[in-house]
């Protein structure tokens, strides 16, 4: 059943209702614990949950607007992530123009999605941009640091634009497969699980964490946190899949395991970048969370993997 006004299925609204209830519970819990927590922890947690309220509302808003605007919103997410990433790394003076072209690739990539040109969407960045950017750099003629510059800019584009843009292509899949939840169901399922996994890994790590899982990259991450997140996320995937996706029971368990595992991999990849550059947070866009990269890191690997998982199994 679609909502008469917004044209998206009622189940999407119900799921958002569930998310908002969880947020209420979270806010209430933190408020109740006010006197049992240290002042710093309390402020930090309040900031984080308030940012969640804002982020969930922005995503909800992006679901309600017409499809073109939803795709544009995901494009802006890519743009902010790319900008944050390119601002962190050392760039050569001569790469001003090549980086400009890398920016131009963002609206183009989302335009291919908007017109539903799958072939172009899937090769534009990994092939054409990967060839074009080094070519542009060569023609400017600065060979000092050429390999580093050519590979980092392409890698950034691949991570922040190509990978994340798969989220938008869900909307262009044929509609008959996921009729009860529509293609928005996939996006909601993916984003909800990836972010939920982050929170669960953090929580289980805080509660039970003893053994560091990758101490050279991210000292705070623990095996207990990772396993705890994996179990809870897979359970949630199993529970939600029948409502939001056409996945079968075993497929939904596979999706849960995949999102939890590769959410972790994306997370530590961005941690490794920050460690390499000696940077604390990737930015300051989201209060209590750091930058936008710190928030979308778990979507970098999971988005294209989940997309092709679904694409292979059901289309």
């Amino acid at each position: 059943m679609n909502h008469p006004l917004f044209g998206i299925p009622n189940i999407i609204f119900i799921t958002f209702g569930g998310i908002y209830s969880l947020l209420c519970l979270g806010s209430l819990l933190i408020y109740r614990l006010k006197h049992r927590l240290a002042a710093h922890d309390y402020q930090e947690l309040t900031k984080r949950i308030n940012a969640w309220w804002v982020m969930v509302t922005i995503i909800f808003g992006a679901f309600l607007v017409p499809e073109g605007f939803t795709i544009t919103a995901i494009g802006f997410l890519s743009f902010f992530a790319f900008k944050e990433f390119v601002s962190l790394i050392p760039t050569r003076r001569t790469d001003h123009r090549p980086i400009f072209w890398a920016y131009i690739a963002i609206p183009l990539q989302f335009y291919w999605i908007y017109i539903g040109w799958y072939g172009m969407f899937i090769i534009f960045i990994p092939l054409y941009m990967a060839l074009f950017l080094p070519m542009r750099m060569v023609l400017i003629g600065n060979t000092k640091g050429f390999m580093t510059a050519a590979s980092t800019i392409n890698w950034l584009l691949l991570f922040t634009v190509f990978c994340l843009s798969h989220m938008a292509y869900f909307l262009k899949l044929p509609e008959h497969v996921n009729e009860h939840a529509s293609n928005y169901g996939f996006i909601l399922f993916l984003v909800l699980l990836a972010q939920f996994n982050d929170v669960m890994q953090f929580t289980w790590g805080k509660l039970l964490g003893k053994h560091p899982v990758l101490s050279t990259v991210s000292p705070k991450k623990t095996t207990e946190g990772f396993i705890g997140g994996l179990i809870i996320t897979t359970l949630l995937a199993y529970l939600l899949a029948p409502f939001l996706t056409p996945l079968t029971v075993w497929e939904s368990i596979g999706a849960g395991l995949m999102i939890a595992t590769f959410g972790f991999i994306g997370d530590v990849s961005i941690s490794a970048v920050k460690r390499d550059l000696n940077i604390k947070d990737s930015g300051a866009l989201i209060p209590g969370h750091g930058g936008i990269l710190d928030r979308v890191d778990s979507l970098i690997y999971t988005t294209p993997l989940f997309f092709h998982y679904v694409y292979y199994l059901h289309y």
Binding site: K83, E84, S87, H96, F100, Y103, L277, K280, G283, A284
Partner: protein, 224 residues
């Protein structure tokens, strides 16, 4: 070419406000993105001077954009007349939109005449934006500071001089480039520069303020 500096205090400059509210502010917020430290230290009443390092044409407009619209009419960047008033279109734009305080650096040699438009603006309780490096340097490189700022601060006892350090705009739009390539930029605002008995000491104070502000960006961002 001579430019007469007509400053009318308390007059709202609609064209300037319109340009900043509809174009500059949204572009800076969405396209570039700023991380601002100690915004509360920015002087909101004139006479005051904001001094900053200079690597990009964006520096002045970005600093102006930090001001709320109701103060913006009073905020004016100091700039070279020979460059910004070199043709009719640019003159019109520099005068009405950017609302520059022109400095005739080539034709006038007497330093009092040179700074006259600035003195006038400060006397009218305006907030000046001044780049003591004199011109834009290579991206993210600093240059020796010029002494004019000392003479201005000497002549206006009640005027504070607030140092601002900008990082990132020199990468976004470097000297000699025509296209804007967005990089998140940092802006740190410092405590007013302490006064000094002579120009050399004053410039040393200012240099020290800039060094500290540059360091602040580093310590906030990097694990040291």
């Amino acid at each position: 070419m001579s430019i007469t500096c007509t400053t009318k205090p308390k007059k709202t400059k609609w064209l300037k406000l319109l340009f900043f509210s509809l174009l500059i502010k949204p572009i800076i917020t969405i396209l570039i993105g700023l991380r601002i430290y100690n915004r509360e230290l920015l002087p909101c009443f004139g006479p005051a001077i904001v001094v900053a390092n200079h690597n990009s044409h964006l520096d002045a407009v970005v600093l102006m954009s930090l001001y709320p619209l109701k103060t913006l009419s009073m905020v004016r960047p100091v700039a070279a007349a020979d460059y910004f008033f070199r043709n009719r279109f640019l003159s019109w734009f520099s005068k009405n939109i950017l609302d520059l305080v022109p400095i005739e650096r080539n034709t006038l040699t007497n330093k009092e005449d040179l700074l006259q438009p600035c003195h006038q603006a400060l006397a009218d309780n305006q907030i000046l934006i001044l780049f003591p490096e004199g011109t834009r340097g290579e991206p993210e490189q600093r240059q020796p500071l010029k002494k004019g700022i000392f003479y201005l601060s000497q002549a206006h006892a009640e005027c504070t001089v607030t140092p601002v350090f900008i990082y990132g705009l020199g990468k976004t739009l470097p000297k000699g480039e025509k296209v804007i390539v967005p990089f998140f930029s940092d802006i740190v605002i410092g405590q007013p520069v302490p006064s000094a008995p002579n120009a050399t000491d004053y410039i040393a104070n200012l240099q020290l303020s800039f060094d500290q502000l540059a360091q602040k960006i580093k310590t906030d961002r990097y694990i040291i």
